[in-house]
């Protein structure tokens, strides 16, 4: 995700999730989100076997 796409995503997500970012915090949040995106890319690009379940399981 390039910088422009990240900024557009954040602008949409803060509205969608009801979590506004104040103007004075925007730059720091964008920097932090760029770091998150790098880590996320590493995670989502890994091909997992289809039978792998998410770690937390609901136990009735």
């Amino acid at each position: 995700m390039d910088q422009e796409t990240q900024a557009a995503y954040l602008a949409a997500a803060e509205k969608l999730l009801g979590l506004p970012i104040r103007p004075e915090h925007k730059e720091a949040v964008q920097t932090a989100f760029a770091v998150v995106c790098k880590h996320a890319e590493l995670v989502t690009s890994f091909k997992l076997p289809p039978e792998t379940e998410a770690a937390p399981r609901y136990i009735p």
Binding site: Y9, L10, L17, V29, A32, A40, T44, A54
Partner: protein, 449 residues
């Protein structure tokens, strides 16, 4: 040896034998705190009056011929995310200073009190445990007793510095991504992160439900094992420090867990491996990706937990915490779902390695304690941000909840910690390995200055 230099078990022996009273031991520790905590900044709240009453109770029991408990007269303190009756559980924040004070202590405090230990207060930490340096914007930095220009590590920085400085003989902390092992390593004390779920989290302020662990710090293996046994509930998990270690089943983790490590940290790793007779190396595959997955889940769960205050009171957060919580909370769901699936896969890789080995070794940190405010350090020839990268070797391990004892390897310079990692539920074996290393004289947890 001065009273504040005694280990917890050393204090118990003196108090039970009547050589010193619990009140005398307490007075020596209070004097030490009053003389030096202005420099090291460990305590955020002091409970000295309560401690005096608790010490008097221990002394009264001894005088009456009653059993004073296995921690009789041991001064201890806790990271300020543990509930202490009557004090707000601030968790390193400004936001929680006005939270209603809990009406009861966390169960960990209750258990240590019942064992005869004496509570001295609450200790500094990174805000909401989201950090590795304890450079807290509200309470100031905790300084490393080995050199106050350097960090004590975090997020349990006050807990380790208070031990290294001789303010307490036992402390408690928490570990989500390394916050027990990393600061223990940087200040030359022992730390235990038990298996995920082994020690209750009741009565502590949460950070990341998926990864949060509670654990003790000490200046000897016997102290660490005793505290652990008091905090955990399963008979079969009790430590037996004399149990055998098979050298053929000890291996050093290579690849990610050695990449970029400084020569002195690699030397510490080899000192531990040699003393345990472990000559093998093994790769835990995809550890870099595991660290990334831990990073994403941490920021997401932490951010979601704080969402109401991120909306209502963003300016009251530490500037180092706020952007990471906001960015984390806004992540797409696919990242978190895939990260939790990857977590299950990575766990299987670790369990396969434990079919061949009982204990895995890795440095606690790539470098010794950085300077306070140091923006970057050199990792494999590249300058990388300090706060984001000093936990490289701890994050993949807490990600899958493995038990770890961090041991302080004797050093001429700043302290060096090595992680002794065991299979889930095998804390006792990691403690036994630490005891063997202690016996062989390769470890050092001394009070400074």
């Amino acid at each position: 040896m001065k009273l504040f230099e005694l280990t917890a078990t050393g204090i118990v022996a003196q108090v039970r034998a009547g050589r010193f009273s619990a009140s005398q031991v307490l007075a020596a520790h209070i004097a030490r705190i009053e003389a030096l905590d202005a420099t090291f900044n460990c305590f955020t709240a002091r409970t000295f009056e309560r401690a005096r009453a608790e010490a008097a109770l221990v002394d009264a029991k001894i005088q009456a011929g009653q059993e004073p408990g296995p921690l009789a007269g041991v001064p201890f303190a806790v990271k300020n995310l543990f509930d202490i009756e009557g004090l707000p559980t601030v968790a390193g924040s400004k936001i929680r200073r006005t939270a209603p004070p809990p009406k009861v202590d966390a169960p960990h405090i209750k258990r240590l009190n019942e064992a005869g230990a004496v509570l001295l207060g609450a200790l500094n930490m990174d805000e909401f445990a989201f950090g590795f340096v304890t450079e807290n914007a509200h309470d100031g930095p905790t300084r490393n007793p080995h050199d106050p220009e350097h960090v004590a590590g975090g997020s349990s920085g006050g807990s380790v510095a208070a031990l290294a400085a001789g303010f307490c003989a036992l402390t408690l902390g928490s570990d989500t991504n390394g916050s027990i092992r990393l600061p223990a390593g940087l200040t030359g004390v022992y730390g235990l992160k038990a298996s995920y779920g082994r020690i209750t989290r009741e009565g502590t302020f949460p950070f990341v439900d998926s990864f949060d662990h509670i654990g003790p710090f000490a200046r000897s293996v016997a102290d660490l094992a005793l505290a652990y046994d008091l905090l955990q509930d399963e008979d079969e998990a009790s430590p037996v420090l004399g149990q055998g270690i098979d050298p053929a089943r000890v291996a050093m983790l290579d690849d990610w867990f050695q990449h970029g490590a400084s020569p002195e940290m690699l030397e510490a790793l080899h000192i531990v491996a040699d003393a345990l007779g472990g000559t093998a190396s093994v790769t835990l595959p995809e550890a870099k990706r595991a660290r990334s997955a831990a990073f994403c889940i941490t920021a997401f769960e932490g951010g979601q937990l704080h969402k109401p205050d991120l909306i209502a009171r963003p300016r009251d957060y530490d500037p180092a915490t706020l952007p990471r919580l906001l960015a984390g909370a806004l992540q797409p769901a696919q990242t978190i779902y895939q990260a939790q699936r990857f977590r299950a896969w990575f766990r299987q890789q670790a369990l396969a390695i434990f079919e061949r080995y009982d204990l895995l070794l890795a440095p606690a940190t790539p470098i010794t304690a950085p300077l306070i405010g140091q923006p970057t350090f050199e990792l494999g020839g590249e300058a990388v941000p300090t706060r984001a990268n000093i936990g490289l070797y701890t994050q993949p391990i807490s990600f899958i909840g493995l038990p770890v004892v961090c041991v302080p390897v004797a050093s001429a310079g700043l302290p060096r910690g090595v992680q002794i990692i065991a299979a889930p539920g095998r804390e006792a074996l990691a403690l036994a390995a630490a005891a063997r290393l202690e016996d062989r004289g390769v470890l050092s947890a001394k009070v400074v200055p």
